[in-house]
Structure formats: structure tokens, C-alpha cells
């Protein structure tokens, strides 16, 4: 009699829980981490099978904020779709802006003015720093340190203020246009950005003293979540997750787009393969971004900020294009197919977090629950980007 009640108890839960395992074995617990959980940063849900606190199996369940952006693309004109891009990855919105705008420009054969390219690089790197700062704070919150996120937000606020003056929005930017940017930058922007660079350098140094060299933090990330190169390749991971394992693949350097080939910067990579490697990559990347911004401000040419003849309502010729840029989380790809009309025929958004998260079940096997949180944080996930 007891067994039958147990059976019926096991069959509780929704489609995904039942699909995960209808009959958990003795001593094992099926645990739903999410969709509302403090360290899944949004509405990610991970079904875990745990033995004590050891994770035997994990399966992420997605789709809680799925908005079908790809379908929206097919029913909207090219220019109408622009604001959607800022909503995909709300932390590095400008990279998505760029990926889409770049794809359309390539399809139409538009030549972007030099000044516009530089403005794009500056704003995109500013956005990257703000994204990494938020990740840094949130990651430490995952590890149980409450204070860093406040520091990170204070710094991020400055960047958002700077970008707000130029782009008009604070988070979900829609700044780039086909053939340039929507508004030119002024002297005040340049001055503010220079000040920011001066301000952020000692801050990053302070963060290193404050967090990176902390023994408790080190013990929580060193040797945790080791991802081998082979797994990275088979799952198509990109970005800091890849560079944390020692592979210096960065679209900005390997296949330079825009004016990245004219700027000197390093691609940090660490052969640690663990969460600490990924952490160091992101911390180093912020410094590199500062370097890029300073160089761009020096080299900033005069000229148009948008192509004078840029079409307001583009109608690209029929054809296919695949354009990738380097986002804060990895390689962002826009695969665009046009049939010559004012609406895209098919638009596929390749999001880096999607691939990065897909290797999570592989990595998390056999680790502790606390480590799973640490690994999840080190992948730097943005759930709207995964669900799209």
C-alpha cells in the first residue's frame, strides 16, 4: 500500500519533471532549482537529481520568458525590428544591435562611415564593461558575498548615465542604425568617458584586492566546474567560457569586424579551465575594454555619424548572410535570409548563452549543490537571451 502511494507521489510535477525521471531511486531527491530561485538570475529552471548534496543529473528547462523573437522578425519590417534586439540580451544590448545592423548592412552592401564605426566600438565596449560589472556583482552574490553587487551597481550607474545621454535609454538600447548610429557623440560624452576610464582603473584594482585575493572566494572557484576543451568544442561554447579554458578565440581578434583591426588590445585567456579562469578572463576583459575605449577616443575621426544616403526603410536584395560579433557572453550570430521584400524571410539569432548553458548538465555531474551555483554563475547566463 505504501508503494502505490509513493508511486503516485513521484508522478507529481509537470511534463518536464515526469520526463526527467518517473521513478527516482531510493535516497535520491528530484529537486526543482527554479524557475524562481535566487541564483538562476531570472527564470531558468534546472531539474536536479541529488544524492545528499551531490548532483547526479541535471537538466535545464527553458522557455519561461520565450517571446519568439524569430517569428516577430518575419512579421516586422527591417527597421521595425530594431528595438527587439535590445530586449534579447538586456545586459549587452548594443552587441545584439550591432549584430543585426551589421548583418543587414552586409546584405545591402552599405559602407559605414569611419566615425560611426568608432562610436559603435566605444559604446559597445562601455556596454561590455557594464555587463561584466553586473556579472561580477551577481556572481559574488551567488557565492554569498552581499556587498560587491552594490559596488558594481554604483560603477555601472555611471556607465549607464553616459550611455543614456547619447542613446536615450538606460538598458535596452536601440542606438545603431543601418549605416551608422542614431545620434552623434559630443564633447561632454568624450570627457565623461575619459573620466570614467580614469575612475575605473583603481576601482578594478580595488576589486582585485577585495575579492579576487580573498581566500574564501578562491576556495569556492578554484578547481570548480572544470570544462575540457573537447566539451567546449562539441557544445559550441564561446566567449569568456571558452577563453577561461585557454583558447584565445575572440571574434574581435580572430575575424576582426568594424575597426577592431586598427586597435591594439589583448585577448585574455587562462588555461585554468575552472570557474576561476572564467572569472579572471572577465576581470581582465574590463581592463582591455578600457584600453580599447581610450584608443578609440584618441583616434576618433571627424565625419558623418551615419551614412547620408542610408535607407530609412531598407529593402535588402535577396540573399543570405551570417554576421557574428563578440558579445559579453560570447559569439553573437545573426543568420539572415532575405527574399528581397521589406520583411526578413528568416532570421535566426544565435545566442552564446544558449550554447554555454547546454554544457551545464555535463559539467555539473558529481558536484555539490553549492558548486552548481558557482558553475552556473561562472557561465554568466542571461535568460532572455537563451529563451529569445
Amino acid at each position: 500500500m505504501l508503494d502505490t502511494t509513493l508511486d503516485s507521489l513521484d508522478l507529481r510535477g509537470d511534463f518536464y519533471t515526469r520526463n526527467f525521471q518517473p521513478h527516482p531511486s531510493e535516497n535520491r531527491l528530484i529537486l526543482n532549482m527554479g524557475p524562481q530561485h535566487p541564483s538562476t538570475h531570472g527564470v531558468l529552471r534546472v531539474i536536479l537529481e541529488i544524492d545528499g548534496e551531490y548532483i547526479v543529473r541535471a537538466e535545464p528547462v527553458l522557455g519561461y520568458i520565450h517571446r519568439m523573437h524569430e517569428r516577430m522578425a518575419e512579421v516586422k519590417r527591417y527597421e521595425q525590428y530594431l528595438p527587439n534586439l535590445g530586449r534579447i540580451d538586456y545586459l549587452h544590448a548594443l552587441a545584439w544591435n550591432w549584430a543585426y545592423v551589421g548583418a543587414v548592412e552586409r546584405l545591402m552592401g552599405l559602407e559605414v562611415p569611419k566615425r560611426a564605426e568608432y562610436i559603435r566600438v566605444i559604446t559597445c565596449e562601455l556596454n561590455r564593461i557594464s555587463s561584466h560589472l553586473l556579472w561580477w556583482g551577481a556572481y559574488l552574490l551567488d557565492l554569498g558575498a552581499f556587498t560587491p553587487i552594490m559596488y558594481a551597481f554604483a560603477d555601472r550607474e555611471i556607465i549607464m548615465d553616459i550611455l543614456q545621454r547619447i542613446t536615450g535609454s538606460r538598458l535596452t538600447y536601440c542606438y545603431y542604425r543601418f549605416g551608422g548610429v542614431s545620434q552623434d557623440i559630443d564633447d561632454k560624452f568624450i570627457e565623461q568617458t575619459k573620466e570614467l576610464c580614469k575612475y575605473l582603473r583603481p576601482r578594478l584594482k580595488m576589486y582585485k584586492d577585495f575579492v579576487t585575493d580573498n581566500i574564501i572566494f578562491r576556495k569556492r572557484v578554484e578547481g570548480i566546474g572544470i570544462i575540457e576543451t573537447e566539451i567546449l568544442r562539441k557544445y559550441g561554447a564561446t566567449g569568456p567560457v571558452l577563453r577561461g579554458s585557454g583558447i584565445a578565440y575572440d571574434v574581435r581578434k580572430t575575424k576582426p569586424y568594424s575597426v577592431y583591426s586598427e586597435i591594439e588590445f589583448d585577448v585574455p585567456s587562462y588555461e585554468l579551465e575552472d570557474a576561476f579562469g572564467r572569472y579572471l578572463v572577465r576581470m581582465q576583459e574590463m581592463e582591455e575594454s578600457l584600453k580599447i575605449i581610450e584608443q578609440c577616443l584618441e583616434q576618433l575621426p571627424a565625419g558623418d555619424f551615419i551614412l547620408p544616403k542610408a535607407p530609412k526603410r531598407p529593402k535588402p536584395p535577396a540573399g543570405e548572410v551570417y554576421f557574428t560579433v563578440e558579445g559579453a557572453r560570447g559569439e553573437i550570430g545573426v543568420h539572415l535570409l532575405s527574399d528581397g521584400s521589406a520583411y526578413p524571410y528568416r532570421l535566426k539569432l544565435r545566442s552564446p548563452s544558449f550554447s554555454n548553458l547546454s554544457l551545464f548538465p555535463e559539467v555539473v555531474k558529481g558536484t555539490l549543490l553549492a558548486d552548481a551555483v558557482s558553475i552556473l554563475g561562472s557561465l554568466d547566463l542571461v535568460i532572455p537571451e537563451i529563451d529569445r
Partner: protein, 168 residues
């Protein structure tokens, strides 16, 4: 499916893949293969050290076109595999045995188009509600375009390569 529509579809023999012109698309290489050769080709690409980047599909007049994007880390050279499913076929081999990262991409294609991937270990909806059986990216019949209309480059076949010689 008229023969005329199929006229543009590339004629590839089994065991061969057609190397297409890339133009401004953004790939280093474009390969067109038959559905049956998919696993074979993917195994070769795996040996060459390609990383799986993306799997996507689209519906055209001829049927479904699946595009697999691969990437090489050392030089960033991208490779696209294109497979056409014609005659109402909605099934293709899963490449998840070779690239486990394909599991999710294939589930997404199953979600959006209803394409069934054979030998997929867990083909359940990934992003959409499992209770609603809708495939939002399928197009109405009058909206579908022929392959030639959306991929003008794919008409130009540069050469045919034997699959065994792909690695070279």
C-alpha cells in the same frame, strides 16, 4: 512539389558534397549535402576539429532547409552545411552522437518547425509549451519562396568533393 521548382535544387550524388560559392555570406565554405550523408560529413568535420556553432532551419517551397554552422577557433573560419528535406520529409538524423551540443539546437528546430530528429535522446519541446502542438515558424503556402529566390549564391556550384576527401 513540381519538377520545375526542383530544377534549382542542387543535384548532389550520394557520397558527394557540393561546394558552393560563398560571396558575401560570411562563411569560408558552404557545403550542400544529401540528408543521408549528414552523419558521415559531420563525423569528418569533428575529426577536423570544427566546433558546432548553430543549427537552424527554414521552410521553403521545396521543403525544409537545414543549415548547420561550424566554426574553427584558430582562424575563425566558418563552414555551413546545408541539407534540404524535400517531398514532405520531416525526418533527419540527429548529429547529437557526434556533437552533443546539437541536442538543444535540434530540440529548438523540432519546436519551431516540427522536424523530427532520428536517434535524438530527448526530443521534447525546449522553448515552447509542451501542451500546445504548434510550430510557429512554418509559413503559409503562398508565403513560401523557392530556394533560388532566397539564396542566389547557392546556384553556383564550384566543385563536387568526395566526402572522404573532406578533411584535406
Amino acid at each position: 512539389m513540381t519538377k520545375e521548382g526542383l530544377g534549382h535544387v542542387l543535384e548532389v550524388k550520394p557520397g558527394f558534397c557540393a561546394l558552393l560559392a560563398t560571396g558575401k555570406v560570411g562563411y569560408k565554405k558552404q557545403l550542400f549535402i544529401l540528408p543521408d550523408d549528414l552523419l558521415n560529413v559531420v563525423k569528418h568535420l569533428d575529426e577536423c576539429g570544427y566546433a558546432l556553432e548553430n543549427i537552424t532551419a527554414l521552410e521553403i517551397e521545396e521543403g525544409f532547409l537545414l543549415v548547420y554552422h561550424f566554426n574553427q577557433w584558430n582562424n575563425g573560419e566558418k563552414l555551413a552545411l546545408k541539407v534540404l528535406l524535400t517531398d514532405g520529409v520531416k525526418e533527419i538524423d540527429s548529429i547529437s552522437d557526434v556533437y552533443p551540443g546539437a541536442l538543444w539546437h535540434e530540440r529548438e528546430c523540432f519546436d519551431f518547425f516540427g522536424i523530427v530528429f532520428k536517434n535524438h535522446s530527448n526530443l521534447i519541446p525546449l522553448l515552447l509549451d509542451p501542451k500546445e502542438n504548434i510550430h510557429p515558424l512554418l509559413k503559409a503556402k503562398n508565403k513560401r519562396q523557392p530556394l533560388a529566390a532566397i539564396m542566389p549564391e547557392s546556384e553556383k556550384i564550384e566543385q563536387y568533393i568526395k566526402i572522404e576527401e573532406l578533411g584535406k
